[in-house]
């Protein structure tokens, strides 16, 4: 894999991961406040307890992915 292709794969992976983490961050937030709605919507996966635990730890990957997503383009252009 050449350098350009590698950067493209990394950027795409970061972007998709950021999207997934953002959705999970939002869903777990709603899962805390509206467990009766989000629980069935996620087939019981995001019940209140797991929503709380997920929401309280997802900030770290979210910030890291967002930073990487924003900086990668500039770094690659250097």
């Amino acid at each position: 894999m050449d350098e350009k292709a590698f950067y493209k794969v990394v950027r795409k992976a970061i972007a998709w991961l950021l999207l997934a983490v953002t959705i999970l961050f939002l869903l777990s937030g709603f899962g805390i406040v509206y467990p009766d709605l989000v629980g069935p919507f996620t087939l019981g996966l995001l019940y209140k307890g797991i929503s709380i635990r997920l929401h309280d730890v997802l900030w770290a990957p979210f910030i890291a992915l967002l930073t990487a997503h924003l900086l990668l383009r500039s770094v690659i252009k250097l």
Binding site: V10, G49, R53, A64, T67, A68, L72, V75, L78
Partner: protein, 222 residues
């Protein structure tokens, strides 16, 4: 290939990896004691939340109280300053009640609380005429206050058990106040001292703009 650029990309990837490692580690080691199988989830036909359904939002994180050195003090405008050990408090008549805690963050939990009435402790200390405010202090420096009438009239409880199991440290062990019909920030945990006064008092969040009464039927913003 530019080595500088590659290093920068690798640093960003490493940062992402570390963030995921932190998240996975925190998920697998939440620090909370597992409730175990003894936790009841229904009481007299009423469905209960789990004690894991709380969001930890205390000001300094969970406090781990050494129960052998723990004391609950009642002072201020009382006839006799009293100091109780954990066992002393538990020797009082205990009461059970299902009460819902509503947090200002939007979530709520319905729990079977078991504990002693603050009234019983106050009666032993003897409340001096003129006392109208009761202040609760916690091990982490948190505090909050109520009108004495509220505590008296509603038989407010200091809980030491939740859903039939001993309150875990992250929930407020040894005692959490069950401040019925008040916003969650009035439900002080890790209570160490109760003071009676004839002055108004604003606690931790109340000093930062939250309502001093903390009534559920009104906005929590001062």
């Amino acid at each position: 290939m530019r080595p500088g650029r590659m290093v920068a990309v690798l640093i960003l990837l490493l940062m992402v990896l570390l963030a995921f490692a932190y998240a996975i580690s925190a998920l697998l080691n939440p620090g909370a004691g597992a409730p175990g199988t003894d936790e009841v989830r229904e009481y007299q036909g009423q469905k209960l939340s789990s004690i894991d359904d709380f969001r930890e939002n205390s000001i300094k994180g969970p406090q781990h109280i050494d129960i052998t050195r723990y004391n609950l003090t009642i002072n201020g405008l009382v006839d006799h300053t009293k100091t109780y050990s954990y066992a002393d408090v538990l020797s009082h008549p205990n009461y059970r009640k299902v009460v819902t805690l509503n947090c200002v963050e939007g979530w709520s939990v319905t729990i079977l609380w078991e504990g002693v009435r603050v009234n019983d402790l106050l009666n032993e200390s003897g409340v001096k005429p003129g006392a109208r405010t009761i202040i609760f202090y916690a091990a982490d420096g948190y505090s909050t206050s109520f009108s004495l009438d509220y505590i008296r009239d509603n038989n407010i409880m200091l809980a030491y058990r939740m859903n039939n199991i001993t309150m875990p440290p992250e929930r407020g062990y040894p005692f959490q106040l069950v401040a019925e019909n008040k916003w969650g920030y009035k439900w002080i945990k890790w209570v160490t001292r109760i003071e009676l006064t004839d002055q108004d008092y604003r606690g931790y969040w109340e000093q930062r703009g939250y309502s001093n009464s903390g009534d559920l039927n009104a906005s929590f913003l001062g």
